[in-house]
């Protein structure tokens, strides 16, 4: 079995190769026109190739440095538990982020922020019901007042429903 740091290094290298080749392949989609020759492709292709090349070296070094995994089952088990919990939290925050933006698109800023604020607090370990209620009311109100009233930014209206429409009597 390969030790975790070496595996991480190899994995990082492989990810670099994948990203590099992805962009390299995409660079072929850039038209070659008489006016510009291959010039528009040069920088994207060179950058992408460099990433892939560095990734290949990185992966190679990761594999070359691979030592056997140290024996420490209990520590490893505790680490696995921590890792699993962290992964759930991160996945939760990612899902919340995506849902929040989609929510803003369909239900406007106020409703989405009122829903997202308590969930974000929950993910960070807050367990107070009054705290959730306060966040649901104060966060949308304060952000709205600062950015959309104070700075005059045009608010993102919801496609299906927007509380701001209701408040403004439209």
């Amino acid at each position: 079995m390969i030790a975790k740091p070496a595996r991480r290094e190899a994995l990082a290298g492989l990810a670099m190769v994948a990203v590099g080749f992805g962009f390299f392949a995409a660079s072929f989609g850039i038209d070659v026109r008489e006016q510009g020759g291959i010039a528009p492709r040069v920088f994207p292709m060179a950058g992408a190739l460099l990433i892939a090349l560095l990734g290949a070296v990185q992966a190679g070094l990761g594999v070359a440095r691979a030592d056997p995994a140290p024996d420490g089952r209990m520590a490893a088990e505790a680490g696995v538990q921590d890792h699993a919990r962290d992964t759930w939290h991160i996945a939760g925050l990612l899902a919340l982020s995506a849902a929040y933006v989609i929510g803003i698109n369909y239900f406007g800023y106020l409703v989405s922020t009122a829903a997202a604020a308590p969930i974000a607090l929950y993910l960070f370990g807050v367990r107070s019901i009054p705290g959730f209620a306060a966040a649901a009311v104060l966060c949308p109100a304060i952000y709205h007042l600062v950015f959309f009233v104070g700075l005059g930014v045009f608010p993102p209206y919801g496609l299906w429903f927007d509380l701001l429409d209701v408040i403004q009597g439209h």
Binding site: V19, L93, Y109, F124
Partner: protein, 497 residues
């Protein structure tokens, strides 16, 4: 003389003065919060400044950057957790002083040293930036491209622990910057059929994602880990914590030497304040008469890195203002503020907008005085306040702010998606030892580098040979190659057989 006119401009506008003081306070608080950097604060506040007067906007953010560099020392001294990477050197002697009940004294030394270092850096900037701009006006596209090349190499290979990952981060920044319309032929490049990407990937959401959103993920991962216990600075013995001239005088040679080290490093793109702080600490310890006390709570060990750390601030603006090449992450973020207010960065800036530039320098000097006074008398209070802000409330608020800030920059939800993707990418990059600052600085530089490269080839009769035939261009190419070779050699030596 321009600097006196600049000072007059600053003092004649109470709003500018107010924004400078606000910047000093915000920077100090943000810098002192472990995990949050002044770059993150500036990234979040950039969209807000789009609605301000140009000088107020630039002065506000510039002073946040200065004060934030200093604020990192508060967390390093009090919590044994550096608020910024540069403050890690301050922590070596700062925290032992705190454990002995001398945290206020350590913070006063940090404040005075930071202010002196910052002032020295700014004075050098003011004295020499005009000269650098004049030289920069003589550079043609081949010279500019070779400077960009050297900057990419230095940024990619010197910041961070891994040369491979650093260079890959810089290369990724270049590729992402290529997304959008080609500047010469106007054809789509790497837009993946998203018409919103035709104008290129916007800088502000990328910065907010990389520095703010990514930090929220990083904090979520370590939310259960507690900071080291420390003594409340306000309960320390007030008499013992009074800083006397006799105590500070031995620090002065270290402060002046470190200020010049910091100022020199600040001029080189990408090296940044953490390298300056550690070099100054090492150099100070090597020359110190009481070298055995360093690491156990020597005041000089706090003074040296703090002076160097802040001396970087002013000179890091020199490559930005004269060549359009940001010397630091904060300088890279400031580019968007200059652009939105209609300033074209580069040597011509000193012909077209001389007044605002010297007013900005003057604002920097006033900012030093502001954070110096606030820090000298209030750092202990700031430290205490930060302990009262629970991470579990602070970071959800930062999470929500990152969304609205990314949206506010251009009023586009597409930008919010970009911010999210950049945030997750930034978090993964940090987790796997890649280098987000190298990514950002390269992202900012890439378009200019491409333009200079293509202009050079159009000028050339011998293709790529133009970069070798012009002596200045060749010198910078050689510098880039030598930096890579030296760094690679050093790393392979450190890695051992």
């Amino acid at each position: 003389m321009e600097i006196f006119a600049g000072l007059l401009t600053v003092f004649s506008d109470p709003w500018v003065c107010m924004w400078i003081v606000a910047g000093a306070l915000i920077g100090m608080v943000v810098g002192a919060i472990p995990g949050l950097t002044s770059a993150a604060a500036i990234a979040m506040l950039v969209p807000v400044t789009f609605y301000m007067e140009p000088l107020s906007a630039l002065a506000f953010l510039y002073v946040i950057g200065k004060s934030g560099r200093y604020g990192g020392s508060i967390a390093a001294i009090l919590f044994n957790t550096p608020g910024t990477a540069a403050a890690a050197a301050t922590q070596i002697d700062g925290f032992p002083l705190s454990q002995r009940g001398l945290s206020s004294k350590a913070m006063k030394v940090a404040t005075v040293s930071s202010a002196i270092g910052d002032f020295t850096g700014d004075v050098l900037l003011i004295l020499f930036v005009g000269f650098i701009a004049k030289v920069a006006l003589m550079l043609g596209p081949p010279e500019l491209f070779s400077i960009y090349f050297a900057a990419f190499v230095v940024i990619g290979s010197v910041i961070g622990d891994s040369i491979l990952k650093g260079l890959a981060s810089a290369a990724l920044g270049i590729v992402v910057a290529m997304i959008g319309l080609d500047p010469i032929t106007s054809q789509d490049r790497l837009t993946f059929d998203f018409f919103q990407l035709s104008g290129g990937v916007p800088l502000v959401p990328i910065i907010i994602g990389m520095f703010v959103f990514a930090e929220v993920f990083a904090q979520l991962e370590k939310r259960d880990r507690k900071v080291e216990a420390f003594q409340d600075p306000l309960r320390d013995d007030k008499t013992a914590n009074r800083l006397t001239w006799a105590e500070y005088r031995p620090c002065l040679p270290h402060v002046f030497r470190s200020s010049f080290i910091g100022a020199f490093i600040g001029m080189l793109p990408g090296l940044g304040s953490s390298i300056a702080a550690f070099i100054s600490y090492g150099e100070g310890k090597r020359r110190a008469a009481n070298a055995d006390e360093w690491g156990k709570g020597a005041l000089e060990g706090v003074a040296a890195p703090e002076a160097a750390n802040n001396a970087v601030s002013g000179p890091s603006m020199a490559p930005l203002l004269t060549l359009g090449i940001p010397g630091s992450t904060i300088a890279a973020i400031l580019i968007s503020v200059f652009h939105i207010h209609g300033f074209q960065l580069g040597p011509t800036l000193f012909l077209t907008s001389r007044e605002i530039i010297y007013s900005l320098f003057a604002a920097g000097l006033v900012g030093i005085v502001a954070y110096g006074i606030i820090g000298f008398y209030g750092a202990a209070h700031v430290g205490r306040m930060i302990l009262k802000i629970p991470t579990r409330i602070l970071y959800p608020l930062i999470f929500l702010t990152s969304f609205v800030s990314a949206y506010a920059a251009r009023g586009s939800l597409f930008d919010v998606w970009i911010m999210m993707i950049a945030g997750v990418t930034g978090w993964l990059m940090r987790k796997y030892g890649f280098n987000p600052p190298a990514f950002i600085i390269s992202f900012v530089l890439a378009r200019g580098a491409e333009e200079a490269f293509r202009q050079s080839l159009r000028l050339s009769d011998d293709g790529l040979m133009i970069f070798v035939q012009r002596p200045v261009a060749a010198a910078f190419i050689v510098i880039g190659v030598v930096v890579i070779l030296m760094r690679a050699r050093r790393m392979s030596r450190e890695a051992g057989p």
